[in-house]
Symmetry: C2
Subunit: 586 residues, 2 copies
Amino acid sequence: MTFARYLPILAWGRTYNRAVLANDMLAAVIVTIMLIPQSLAYALLAGLPPVVGLYASILPLFAYALFGTSRTLAVGPVAVVSLMTASAAGAVAAQGSPEYLQAAITLAMLSGVMLAVMGFLRLGFLANLLSHPVISGFITASGLLIATSQAKHILGIKADGDTMPELLDALAHGIAGTNPRTLVLGVVATAFLFWVRKGAKPALIRFGLAPRAAEMVAKAGPVVAVALTIVAVVMLGLEAKGVKVVGSVPQGLPPFALPGFDPALWERLWVPALLISVIGFVESVSVAQTLAAKRRQRIVPDQELVGLGAANIASALSGGYPVTGGFARSVVNFDAGAETPAAGAYTAVGIALASLFLTPLLFHLPVATLAATIIVAVLSLVDLKTPVLLWRYSRPDFAAHGATIGVTLLAGVEQGVIAGVLVGLLLYLWRASRPHAAVVGRVPDTEHFRNVERHKVLTLPHILSIRVDEGLTYLNARWLEEYVLERVAAQPELRHVILMCSAVNAIDASGLESLEAINHRLADGGIALHLSEVKGPVMDRLQRSHFLHDLTGRVFLSQDRAFSELANDDGSPVDPVDTWQARGLI
Amino acid sequence: MTFARYLPILAWGRTYNRAVLANDMLAAVIVTIMLIPQSLAYALLAGLPPVVGLYASILPLFAYALFGTSRTLAVGPVAVVSLMTASAAGAVAAQGSPEYLQAAITLAMLSGVMLAVMGFLRLGFLANLLSHPVISGFITASGLLIATSQAKHILGIKADGDTMPELLDALAHGIAGTNPRTLVLGVVATAFLFWVRKGAKPALIRFGLAPRAAEMVAKAGPVVAVALTIVAVVMLGLEAKGVKVVGSVPQGLPPFALPGFDPALWERLWVPALLISVIGFVESVSVAQTLAAKRRQRIVPDQELVGLGAANIASALSGGYPVTGGFARSVVNFDAGAETPAAGAYTAVGIALASLFLTPLLFHLPVATLAATIIVAVLSLVDLKTPVLLWRYSRPDFAAHGATIGVTLLAGVEQGVIAGVLVGLLLYLWRASRPHAAVVGRVPDTEHFRNVERHKVLTLPHILSIRVDEGLTYLNARWLEEYVLERVAAQPELRHVILMCSAVNAIDASGLESLEAINHRLADGGIALHLSEVKGPVMDRLQRSHFLHDLTGRVFLSQDRAFSELANDDGSPVDPVDTWQARGLI
């Protein structure tokens, strides 16, 4: 364990050469062209000045290149995190105020520190609390919320809200004030972008381009839409006719500044910052893992926390807002041939150049174009197949999925994530608290023991054999007592209980205490408790307790041996085999 | 499923006869004698007028007799819940104010409603979140807090606080004002009660009493202390010399009244009410289960929620505060021969008679005597053996125990319970997120497959066999992907991965998605994924998904068959057995 673990660049940097440089540079150019309109649009979605989107796409990329373990992840502003930022910052300040910007920067700082600390403490496993159905429900609901929230820009009206009912209500109230020119421009841009997604590549191929080149050029669709609508605004004088434009974007590199330290603000923002961190991490890691596996590479999730943490701290220090790895962008980076995180650094250089030289050109960019970019991007996130598959495969997972969608749409993004985690956890704990167990008996003429309810097996009235298919933990300790004692109460001639532990992988202190309680309670009723087939590590641990000393019965190596030896001890002096024959058991 | 489930009295009431009545009556007399000083003392601990303790010992006992399933549980005020009530009510109002009393009554109402609702929804399993180490830590820390909080009454000073540092600080500041007469009386009472606990029974037996009778008489120790100290106060005129007495206790039955409905108060009290409910329920159920098992009876935990809920609602409607099943009192009830919950109802009649006729006698009862009763009762709750046993048996459980004690002593009771639950859950999730798994190989000349790190087994460079000893759930889905892909990356000649599912009891939607991701990622690298020994119910469920259709490999009935058939498929035309021999494997 050395410090090199925290600097993956030391590993891939050693073999860096000219060929890799060329590939990384090409990928960086393509991602830069894609990222310029995206970063402006997501800043708009987050309720921030467009330039903040550019700032969030420079330093964070350098930071991730130093600390990240994915070779192809493209970090920057993304849709869902932008929506969460808008929701969190909007709760403490009015959009457009300096306090709102300060809140967004503080969110990036908090989130960065949290991610880095989680990385150092190796708490990546906490992201497991977000199950696939919860994440997919959250993304679907967020996509719907985001698309609806952008409709106002297409209509050229004002309509704010954090939840679906609020948004629809605001749209219904404002729709009469629709600006027809904005609407036409917005609808045309949206239609063009939808076409670019599906139709541009085949069209370009028919035009003579090679398939791979056609795919790359098609990714520039949003840039084309940006350029064309700027030209349209200037040529047709649309700005004077009420079409809202981005306006003046400050020219130059991001400012370096420490975000203000305001404990009251930190206290109000730590919960949303935590949710942004976890959602961002989960999204980013699943993209990174998918891409890494395609080239048989590995990512290190705990170090990814450090990488994303560093990226967010860098964002906060340069006037940006929370960032994470983006799905579409990373796939483009991968397909364009990026080989190392250096491609991300080159992209950062590209965005820095754009901040220095291109911002004056963006003055006339219609806001409706950015909204169209967002709408087309997020509607692809809405996934209607998953609920159907979940309904068919697992009702509890369907419930967690549905609860997440419902709460996100009706109460907001933070509430949605929290509800999803809680419902998932509740269902898990409910199942964990009542594991599978069975009363077992001997399959005739064999040494095997099977569930008495499913198989024709031998049992004896003075022996009860129970198999538990789960570790004995505090979640099922109380259940175990109830399960055993209930079956004991139903069998009056009982003298021996055998707990078959072949599937018991662990016994925690609560499980042990339950075993002790069962042992004592059975002893009160004159019944001995035995164990069989206890696994090695479990037995080692039991030997460190008093339990084996207090146990009224014995520990048998096999269930068969336990059953055979105890069969004799039914209080009668008769040979067990005779007894069984007499009882018609064999 | 009929309504009778909610009225256990319908079951035991049918066989009620004169013999049972006599036993129940005897037990009720003994418990009443024990309960009078206890209920006064615990009300004092809760910061309430002593009469509230009596009120909480009448109607709730009737309610539990109707709805409870334990035959011998004695319900009423208990130490830990009284402390929690003081902490919660103290946070919203000053002790002694009408608002403080109102808060205590509201806590009983909220807690009663929560318990009853949890009972109807069968949410008893949520109490599992409190592991044995957490409960035992909480009880130990509460015992220390309670004993320290009562020291002021023994010293005759004022010293309030919710945490150990606050209490010790307040005692240090106030100790100079100690009233010597109160101190002597308090120390003598405490010493007497300690002696009664251990020494009274043998002394009485030597005096000629039968052992069982001696035990019962010894239980009346607190009543003797109460009587003797009242006499001492009156004879020596101690009241005029600064010894604090209980003063006038209203005579008569509890008032029937609806507690005020104040939404703001409900909002501030629901969290402590929930904690009081859960702690009270867990304590009560474990006592009830222990006693029931001694007579081979059963209790129904979800119905116990209803019974305790009814008891708390009854307490709130008659001016009482939160109640639950008490340990010492229930054991006395059991030992005295109580056979049905009717014994509780007769106890309630006893307490009602005491409220009607005995309260004038309590005017001169010194508060120090009540404090002595509390101190002697709670110090027996302090358990110093458990941390030692936990340290030896399980460090994570020790950590949860220690965290609960530490946070309870330093930050308060509510924080302690919450911290204990969170630490326990965190440790559980941490372990659940990285289950046991092993790469396995064939034990030579058998069909068995064992861990390659522990046994001498056969493996092939083009086959990787992995056994996972746990269900595939969302908590370990990400781990599974990492585990499999890491091992795949380390084996360059690989063509087949076999996932041995003999210990996989369930696969939830997230586990399924991980399997799909693994399947796709392996396919990208030209590797086939196979499953072996999939359990019946798991297979049934998989057939409701697309996974088996997308699976690049096959599903084998046994691991042996999978290994044997795939051994051939290493890309060479040679017979596998020849290959193995050539490689020196057999």
